[in-house]
């Protein structure tokens, strides 16, 4: 079965409707944030260092959501924040996919004690919180978006590697792999031709979930002051800065969180929709 078959095979109509609603809502939510991020590349309502609005101005009056404690326009910061969030998600997932898939495929070929050791090693790595790994990376480098993305990507590559290892092992036990091997197909060709096409639906769904987790992790790091340095307005840092004025100027302490939740829910819904479309095993169960 090729991936194209998985995509085009028509599911039952009733199920399909439920599924496309999930996907559509997810794409709309995540797309909204992505749009904000794209627009922020070419246009912003105010300059990021424009403090002319006065401190903690209430929403309205030239500032859609008001200003922060330094007088910067909140909506402008939200827009740059969405760019940073999308960058963090994409960057981390790219690193996690690259390292995780490579490691996972290699680990899947291991046997006996080496296999046990690799599995245990991945388990321990996974239990090690992303944030603490990130602190180590930031201590080794510096507090930049790059460090944060690198750390999150590295931590997630362990999760991806474990998943890929299990998936590949399952495929390698299949008869068609044995058939391919006996007919003289080389290992690299077997992996490219049989293994990867069979694991990718599950992999893509997991990577979508990792995207959401990466966005959350970046926000957490920025909240702790370990993310992108000023004047880059990461949502996490915006929240941290607005924490002291939560009761007097709630917009600054609520808006970044709301956008964050919208983005992560959107991406998770996309993952759910994709899972139901791509993975025949769970078809019809998660309606």
């Amino acid at each position: 079965m090729t991936p194209a078959d998985l995509l085009t095979r028509a599911p039952a109509p009733a199920r399909r409707r439920g599924r496309s609603v999930t996907l559509a809502v997810g794409v709309t939510l995540a797309g909204l944030i992505a749009l904000l991020a794209l627009v922020s590349l070419v246009w912003l309502p105010y300059a990021t260092d424009d403090t002319s609005g006065g401190r903690l101005a209430p929403p309205g009056d030239g500032h859609l959501l008001g200003t922060d404690k330094l007088g910067r326009d909140l909506f402008t910061q939200l827009m740059t924040g969405s760019r940073i969030a999308v960058e963090a998600g994409l960057g981390s997932v790219a690193i996690a996919a690259l390292i995780g898939v490579t490691l996972g495929v290699l680990a899947a070929f291991a046997q006996g004690w080496l296999d046990d050791t690799l599995a245990a090693f991945l388990d321990i790595l996974i239990a090690f919180p992303t944030l603490l790994l990130a602190m180590l990376v930031v201590a080794a480098r510096s507090a930049t978006l790059g460090s944060a993305v690198l750390a999150i990507g590295l931590a997630q590559s362990a999760v991806v590697a474990r998943l890929v290892r299990i998936l590949v092992k399952r495929v390698l036990a299949e008869d068609y792999v044995t058939a391919a091997r006996t007919s003289g197909t080389s290992w690299p060709r077997t992996v490219a031709g049989h293994v990867l096409p069979n694991i990718w639906p599950t992999l893509v769904v997991n990577l979508a979930l990792q995207f959401g987790l990466a966005v959350l992790a970046e926000a957490g790091l920025s909240y702790l002051g370990l993310g992108a340095p000023p004047p880059n307005a990461s949502w996490g840092r915006m929240l941290q800065e607005a924490q002291a004025t939560f009761t007097t100027a709630p917009a600054g302490a609520l808006a970044p969180g709301v956008l964050l939740v919208l983005l992560v829910v959107g991406v998770n819904l996309i993952a759910d929709g994709l899972r139901d479309t791509l993975d025949p095993a769970t078809r019809g169960r998660r309606s």
Binding site: I124, L131, A139
Partner: protein, 321 residues
Amino acid sequence: MGRYLLRRLAFLLVSLALASVVLFVLLRLLPGDPANALTSVGASPEQIAAARHAIGSDRPLPEQFTHWLGQLATGDLGTSFVSSLPVGPEVAARLNVTVPLTLAAFVLAVVIAVPVGFVAARRRHTWYGALLSGISQLGMAVPVFWLGMILIAVFALGAGWLPSGGFPQDGWAAPADAVRSLVLPVLTIALVMSASLIRYVRSAALEVLDSDFLRTARALGASFPAAMWRHGLRNASVPVISVLGIELASTLLGAVVVESVYALPGLGSLLATGIAQHDYPVVQGVLFVSTLAVLLIGFVADLAQRIVDPRLRARLSGGAR
């Protein structure tokens, strides 16, 4: 079972030994010299060398490693480079905050997630089943620190019922104050944790609800609660137990953000300052203790799974999984 226990214990010890080597080497690979943190800016090379000698970081790595192992064997986690205080008691003091915080949050999360996840699965075609799934979906997307901020704004700053942060100076000597200062942090972690647990419980319950064995039991005349109790619960708890183990382990150190929101002196914040100050003994001590905890939790989770699921016991290879 006895043989399995021995194998599993041996595996635990080997993992711990490997992990301590990896920990030690990784920390030495980090750039930055702890001696710089000890001396004032513009210290002469001699002063820096003296500082290195004092903390032993000028000695060859294998010697440092065996020295550390020797200390560990006697239950000594070393002495902090920065504060010159022994690491062991400091870690123990932090555990007094982190362990109750983590365990209480964990128990509360399970108490919330198991019934909610089950109802979400059993009533998945009703509006409230869908609502419960939706709430869990939403909860998984909420950053833990933001939830903390909101809870503080509502219950501490707004209603004034609970402290907005901090932990009593004398710790558990003032039990009522200690408990009061942990209520909001526990709630914060538990709510976020239960959101993802609900999903796991729900899918494990779905697996069981759709199973042939449950249908057979019902066809043979067992009532739904009886069939669930006798066949469903055990089968559904196997995958959930391993998720619980991972969640508990990662919360132990992952509580650092919540500790930061509520200004709690926990293990995570000790590690964070340790890393920032290149204080190897502190970082090593915290990571060693938490690795031990992670391995022990995995051990208990494995045992629990085997007790619940006899099929795992029958399997010949009783290795890591």
